[in-house]
Amino acid sequence: MPDLSSALHLAASELTLAVGALVLLMVGAFIGDKSARLVSILSVLLLIAAAVIAFMGPWGVAFNGAYVADPLAIYGKSVIYLSAAVAIVLGDGWMKRTHIAKFEYPVLIVLASVGMGMMASSGDLISMYVGIELHSLALYVLAAFHRDDVKASEAGLKYFVLGALSSGLLLYGSSLIYGFAGSMRFEDIAAFAQNNPGPGLVFGLVFLICGLAFKVSAAPFHMWTPDVYEGAPTPVVALFATAPKVAAMVLIARALEGGFSEAHAQWSQVLVAISLLSFVVGAFGGLAQKDIQRLLAYSSIANIGYALLGIAAGTSEGLQAMLMFMTLYVIDQLGFFAILLSLSKSGRPIRRIADLAGLKKDRPVTAVALTILSLSVLGMPPFSGFWGKYYVFGAAADAGLWPVAAAGLVASVVAAFYYLRIIKLMWFDAPLDEIATDKASPETSLIGWACAAFAFPLVIVGLTWLEPLTKVASAGFGNG
């Protein structure tokens, strides 16, 4: 069957991950939890290999259109696999310190990456749904990974129940779309929508968007985010904030601009409303937070609003802006979490924002790195976060969405307050107690500093790389 072998060749990166995960599972099962470190290292190598395979791999369509390997999928997968690899590195030391090191952690992340890869290259409704379930199920388990911790169990349960609800919405929308369009493939749906985008199809589309908005934690489907971010183990939150968000954003772009490009007028309104709400919830909700991880949850809600605005523009420039924004955002977030993981006082991780007070005396390099990352997430030029927002607002304004872009600008000014508060605490306040922070594991600090160095000044060089790559990835989508 030449058909199957070419299809397997196209899906080589997922195959590598799936087979590799099975092998690692066997290694872990035979050696036991002592193998956590070994399995972690091998998983990181596996994910990097998968990213390389995806990047070098051929373009094409396989499995009757269910699997699409186009530049958008390949770009998305590279970012997803690499950020998942960083999450494994971050988790390894932390899990050991909190005595919950298990070999299942890296294996579950690898399996989740298989699902995220499926999402990024899904060409029809079934592969979209199976991909979402594949990665969500692994993430539910990871959220509750610290099973003796009440908050982690609560986070896992909440995420699971609300995730199941969102899957229900998604499936309902999908079944309506299938019923009206008569096909599962985005291509066929697009062809059908071109002739008659009736109310039934739009109705299904709205449910589909609701289900997907749940997965990216956009308001008003964000209610699980703060609790899950607060309760789940910190390295797991670092994963939540990065790879799955990229996968879901790529999927939204693919479903809406691939399957419903003719119904742009309808879905762009929905996305604009979701974006606006996310700005408001993210900016104002974050103001009152005392827990760092809750704060980061609200920050991610606001940032997803910006990314959705890029898709709402409906142009290939908008999609390119979304990809740039998400890439820069992922690097910022990984740096932020790496620094958070490298800080602990007498063996206990730092949870409250107030604990950061006086960090400059204790850990000057880390304080500088955290300052750079805060300024970047806040969107201060010339840090990387600014460039992400610059592209998104530019694309939105070009598509005539400038009032929404202006609202986003106002929201980011409001959100600036809580990042500036972190900076003020670190540099100008006296520490709460005299306890010095513990020595951090070298790899965690290194990742934190590297991400900060990328946020500024390396981003200037990075942009000249990212721009052509995202341009290729977004070509062929959108109308103009």
Binding site: S127, L137, V141, R147
Partner: protein, 208 residues
């Protein structure tokens, strides 16, 4: 005519019992309504000529999932006295569910004898009359849908890993059977010959 009646009866039952699953205050009642909803959906499948899917629905959802739900729901409240007094309480609802199930089975089977809902249907949804259900599914499941099939397998694998990760605890005080150690045990390792002085015997302490 009969097919039409059967369809609307089954569809209405499915919708109403689905509604009752959500609105019933008693979780046991909810599960009973859920069983009815599954059963009605299975009936709809039979009308469409998809007997295999219908049987799967009954075996997997009614037979396994719903009964498991029922077990879990009943286990949640381990007050046995209350459980026993529940029997009389659940009898009316259980009876209603059973009666509706019986009526549905009669209607569906008589409708199928007349040819099923797809009798006059020609189109992509209509099954090939020369091909059995299992054959039709088998032809596409491992060819056209191999990608989804394999991915669904990974989903189940993750569920298994998750269940083990979150619930398995190695208890140190539990003694496990080690068959290799048992088989490798030889007479030399297991026994020790002691010379007992005549007339003195051995005390229990010495044996240990």
């Amino acid at each position: 005519m009969l097919q039409g009646i059967a369809f609307y009866l089954l569809a209405a039952t499915a919708v109403v019992s689905g509604l009752l699953v959500v609105t019933a205050r008693n979780p046991v009642h909810s599960v009973l309504w859920l069983i009815l909803a599954f059963f009605s959906a299975a009936g709809l499948f039979v009308l469409l000529g998809a007997e295999f899917l219908a049987m799967l629905l009954v075996v997997v959802y009614v037979g396994a999932v719903a009964v498991l739900f029922l077990f879990v729901v009943m286990m949640l409240d381990v007050d046995f006295l209350k459980l026993r007094e529940g029997y009389a309480k659940y009898l009316p609802i259980g009876g209603v569910v059973a009666a509706v199930l019986l009526a549905e089975m009669i209607v569906v089977s008589s409708a199928v004898i007349q040819g099923g809902a797809t009798a006059g249907l020609t189109g992509p949804g209509a099954p090939d009359p020369d091909m059995s259900n299992v054959e039709a599914i088998g032809r596409v499941l491992y060819t056209d849908y191999i990608y989804f099939f394999q991915a669904a397998g990974i989903v189940l694998l993750i569920a298994m890993i998750g269940a083990i990760t979150l619930t398995l605890r190695h208890k140190t005080h539990v003694k496990r059977q080690d068959i290799t150690a048992q088989v490798n045990r030889s007479a030399a390792k297991a026994m020790e010959i002691k010379s007992v002085p005549t007339g003195q015997g051995v005390s229990p302490e010495e044996l240990l």
